[in-house]
């Protein structure tokens, strides 16, 4: 099966000013395959490397080691035509629905530009039809949106217009980087549904980069949890979110404030009882999570865990599961669930 987009042991190291370095993305291998359109969440907290990974995937950063390939060609060896193709077929949706529009133009501008540059319509009427169809696909009405300036629309409308714009470009992959984190809660649901609709109806793969596991759970089939540049757990959202195996995933999920009065937090009398605190100041050369891990073993401090497959559609980078089969290829998308 051909791979549309793949990373192979991709690593990105940033040099710190004044010495030292930060490993933003550490040895990540995964792929999106032709004919297996999926919705994948790349989730983690700030500094986990999720955004750096997305920039590597779009060719906006060069990996320090390892490679990123699109349709089999290394992003670093692409000619101008291939670069143009990559640019069109992986479409971004950014976090800020205000900054995505040039304040000088009406919102129609972004659609017109896409259509004229990718030569998608032969006539004005055909172009209008394309725009209207795309608006329909994201649940927007033409008379409520077109012909207006960005400031006249709500954040939700603007963000859905961005989804429509991406759709017009006929991409294979949509890279949505925190598309709802700057939008009010009441408007988020429709944006997320429109992304989901694009995957189901047009077979476009969605990479959803987020810190919010609840939205990831709702709209994605698969998820990669990142911590400190490493994919610590990966697999179907049903398994990873409902029964997390990696201690970090467990911590993350238990920290989410749920709108459910039966699982309320209780106040603790001392910081020692707090499961979210850092436990050790010991330096680790092995698992990055060891200093915060309640289950850290001696081996965690000096050797790096591989990917283990304790059950079904899931891989975990953790020695607690060292007795289970090893994912030899290191390709975390191998455990993805493509059925749901």
């Amino acid at each position: 099966m051909t791979k549309i987009l793949e990373t192979s042991q991709a690593t990105k190291i940033f040099k710190r000013r004044g010495g030292g370095e930060v490993i933003a993305v550490d040895n990540v291998t995964f792929s999106i395959e032709e004919g297996r359109a999926t919705t994948v969440a790349i989730a983690g907290e700030s500094g986990s490397g999720k955004s750096t990974l997305s920039l590597l995937l779009m060719g906006q950063h060069e990996p320090t080691s390892g490679s990123v390939r699109y349709m089999g060609t290394d992003l670093l060896e692409m000619n101008a035509r291939e670069k143009a193709q990559l640019r069109r077929e992986i479409q971004p949706i950014y976090q800020d629905p205000y900054g995505a529009y040039n304040p000088f133009y009406k919102v129609d501008h972004v659609m017109e530009m896409a259509i004229s540059h990718y030569k998608l319509a032969r006539s004005k009427a055909e172009a209008t039809e394309l725009v209207v169809d795309a608006l329909n696909a994201v649940g927007l009405r033409r008379d409520e949106t077109l012909g207006r300036y960005p400031f006249e629309l709500s954040g939700g409308q603007r963000q859905r217009l961005m989804v429509a714009r991406a759709l017009i470009c006929q991409p294979r992959i949509i890279m949505a980087d925190e598309p709802v984190s700057m939008v009010d809660a009441s408007l988020r649901a429709t944006i997320l549904s429109s992304l989901q609709a694009l995957n189901r109806q047009f077979g476009i793969s969605i990479l959803y980069i987020t810190h919010d596991l609840t939205t990831a759970y709702q709209i994605c089939s698969n998820i990669m949890i990142m911590y400190s540049g490493v994919v610590v757990e990966s697999g179907s959202v049903q398994q990873v979110i409902r029964e997390p195996k990696h201690p970090y995933t467990q911590l993350l999920i238990s920290s989410i404030p749920l709108p459910d009065t039966t699982t309320r937090w209780v106040s603790l009398d001392s910081a020692e009882e707090d499961p979210t605190m850092v436990r050790s100041s010991r330096e680790t050369t092995g698992c990055r999570f060891a200093p915060r891990c309640p289950h850290a073993l001696e081996m965690c401090w000096d050797s790096t865990p591989g990917l283990y497959m304790p059950d079904g559609n899931r891989a975990v980078t953790c020695f607690l599961y060292r007795d289970t089969p090893v994912l030899e290829s290191g390709d975390v998308s191998e455990v993805f669930d493509y059925a749901s």
Binding site: G99, F104, A137, F151, A185, Q218, S255
Partner: protein
């Protein structure tokens, strides 16, 4: 449906005045030549030094020229030098600035090297040497020489503007749309540089006139090709016109020069509003009006407080009919509209709302910390019976921190960056409790840090040395150092990751329990509210639409908005169709009569569009502002089918892009 918002008019007095002055000068020099003879400005046409009379309106100079005629021909040429210099300097500056800003790296380095070099050259001194050696130069040669030295100024301003614009997200979007670099530059970047170009042009004209005039007055422009105001002054000075008391010779050109500069000054400060829109409405007169309004509202609140009902004995904090209005250019905006609720001692209350619902405005007003353009028009906030809205400033200052404290949003900005954390707490302690011994102070500071789970040595550090979570705790430590009875926490964790958020919230929880303080948590996250608060108030468009115990709101909200907000939340328990709230968030300006939620409400009735629903209590311990009550006892089920946009419902979408489905 959205109504088109009118952009506020940017025409201002300065702009009009500047344009009028310069327009008048230009018009004058265009029309007057029709009525006079140019030859009158030739040397020796008239007898020298004639006082003003009916033939020579402004007399003649020592060389026998008619001063009025000379003036009429000199003024436009002075302007011309300026405009031509401005054009050349700006064109060159724009070219260089745009190149340097848009193409970083080598080009930027070269441009910056040249422009920094030119800035280091003293322009006047260089021009003195350079221009003085020319043989009878024309206006254009002079303009070009000046522009060669002045372009780096505009180049720098434009470069930095382009540099910021280049990083905007719409630039990335344009690239994803297949636009090439040069097209991105011209189509996306340049239109937004235009206002700056206008302002820079005025500046360049001003500089051009100034520099040319300096050279002319010094007699360094050896030319007979043109006349100018500067050259007139040169001859006055050369021939002792001032000493001879010939006011009609030196007076008019100086007056005209002053007018030109005044016109340019007005124009550029008027233009500032385009480049820097925030400056609008910050004049001295506006400030006076503002101060008067604050006094007026305070007096009205004091008068109202005299006849108020007795305070509720059970409540520690009681908010009654709080109203806050933002005065904007487009009219008043009711940000907080008749909000009332009360908090019992030791209670944890939440105030939830989306952006623009007025939650932060309300909290700020409760501390009487509202700053213009926000005004507390009326209402009472009773802290143990004392009305914070009408007590004298001095008394209010004593109560803040000691009795009622606020943990502000974005803690990183709330701390003083150049002061150690410990000293910031010390300041608060000294203000409220006076001086105390060093040991006592140390103890109090350590105690404050202990309350928020921070090690005591954090006191010796500066804010930038702390992580986000620690800064948030430090802000809390300041707020609770005086053991207040009421704490208002405005989105204390909005900038933090979930794991850190949980720790900070648990700290706040323990603190609240230990101090026995009442906490009002302001936020937008229902999950966080559920974990923390007992009672929850829901704000929509500045109205408190529902108030109830948090489990009641979660399980059976009475207001359609609260219910729909809860329905729209993604959860971790089951996958479900995500249903958003249709329509636009309310535009607070020109809010239509009736319920602000009516345009988005699935249960809307005619009455809702006409009449603002009053707060009522259909169940004990609960409040709701909705016309469904009291005829209903609970909210009817949501018509969920109608709420999913038709096109998003499965199977109904037209297959617009068959290619993308089939793949290659």
């Amino acid at each position: 449906m959205t109504k088109k918002r009118a952009k506020p008019s940017k025409l201002n007095t300065e702009l009009i005045l500047g344009a009028a002055i310069l327009g008048a000068i230009i018009l004058f020099s265009l029309i007057t030549p029709i009525f006079i003879d140019k030859d009158d400005s030739l040397l020796g046409k008239f007898p020298p030094n004639v006082k003003p009379n009916s033939v020579n309106l402004l007399g003649t100079d020592l060389q026998g020229r008619d001063i009025f005629t000379t003036l009429v021909y000199a003024a436009p040429q002075t302007l011309q030098v300026g405009v031509v210099t401005g054009l050349i300097s700006l064109s060159f500056g724009t070219l260089m600035g745009v190149l340097a800003g848009f193409f970083p790296g080598r080009i930027d380095d070269i441009v910056r090297f040249i422009s920094d070099g030119l800035v280091a050259i003293p322009a006047i001194a260089f021009l003195m040497v350079f221009v003085a050696r020319m043989q009878n130069p024309s206006i254009y040669v002079i303009a070009l020489s000046i522009a060669c030295l002045t372009w780096p100024g505009s180049a720098r301003a434009i470069r930095s503007q382009v540099l910021t614009l280049r990083e905007r997200q719409y630039i990335s979007i344009a690239r994803s749309n297949g636009q090439k670099e040069l097209e991105v530059l011209f189509r996306e970047v340049m239109p937004n540089v235009f206002p700056l170009l206008l302002a820079q042009f005025i500046g360049a004209v001003n500089g051009g006139i100034g520099t040319a005039m300096a050279l002319e007055v010094l007699g360094l422009v050896p030319t007979r090709r043109f006349l100018s105001l500067g050259l007139m002054i040169f001859w006055v000075q050369r021939m002792g016109g001032v000493l001879r008391g010939m006011w009609y010779w030196w007076g008019p050109p100086i007056l005209l020069i002053a007018l030109i500069f005044a016109g340019l000054l007005f124009l550029s400060s008027g233009m500032n509003v385009f480049v820097n829109p925030r400056l609008a409405g910050y004049g001295a007169a506006a400030k006076r009006r503002t101060a008067a309004r604050i006094k007026e509202f305070l007096a009205a609140r004091r008068a109202a407080a005299k006849g108020m009902e007795p305070p509720d004995e059970d409540a520690i904090l009681e908010v009654r009919n709080l109203n806050v209005v933002y005065e904007t250019v487009e009219g008043p905006v009711k940000a907080v509209n008749d909000v009332s609720f009360s908090i019992k001692p030791g209670e944890r209350m939440g105030l939830i709302g989306e952006s623009g619902s007025g939650k932060t405005t309300a909290a700020t007003a409760m501390m009487r910390l509202s700053r213009p353009p926000a005004f507390i028009t009326h209402g009472q906030v009773l802290l143990e019976g004392r009305d914070l809205m009408s007590i004298p400033d001095e008394e209010l200052r004593r109560l803040r921190l000691k009795e009622i404290a606020m943990v502000p949003q974005a803690s990183m900005n709330a701390l003083n960056p150049v002061m150690r954390i410990g000293d910031q707490i010390k300041d608060a302690l000294i203000v409220h409790e006076g001086r105390m011994s060093r040991a006592a102070m140390e103890k109090r500071i350590a105690e404050a840090f202990g309350m928020v789970d921070l090690p005591a040595d954090v006191g010796k550090q500066y804010p930038h040395q702390l992580s986000g979570g620690m800064k948030q705790r430090a802000t809390m430590a300041i707020a609770v150092a005086l053991r207040p009875k009421v704490i208002l926490a405005d989105e204390p964790t909005s900038a933090l990751d979930v794991v850190v958020q949980k720790r900070v919230m648990m700290t706040l929880m323990r603190l609240q329990r230990d101090l026995g303080a009442a906490v009002m948590l302001i936020g937008h996250d229902i999950g966080l509210m559920t974990q923390f608060v007992d009672n929850l108030g829901v704000l929509y468009a500045g109205r408190l639409v529902e108030w109830a115990p948090v489990e009641d709101i979660l399980n059976d909200a009475l207001h359609p908005y609260s219910r729909m907000l809860i329905e729209s939340l993604p959860t971790l328990t089951r996958k479900k169709a995500l249903i958003g709230i249709p329509g636009m968030p309310p535009q607070l300006l020109n809010l239509p009569p009736g319920c602000p939620f009516a345009p988005r409400c699935p249960f809307v009735m005619d009455r809702c569009r006409e009449e603002m629903p009053e707060v009522q209590s259909p169940q004990p311990g609960r409040q709701v502002a909705c016309h469904l009550y009291p005829s209903h006892t609970a909210l009817p089920p949501l018509p969920i089918r109608d709420l999913i946009p038709e096109v998003l419902a499965e199977g109904l979408v037209p297959q617009v892009l068959p290619d993308a489905v089939a793949g290659d």
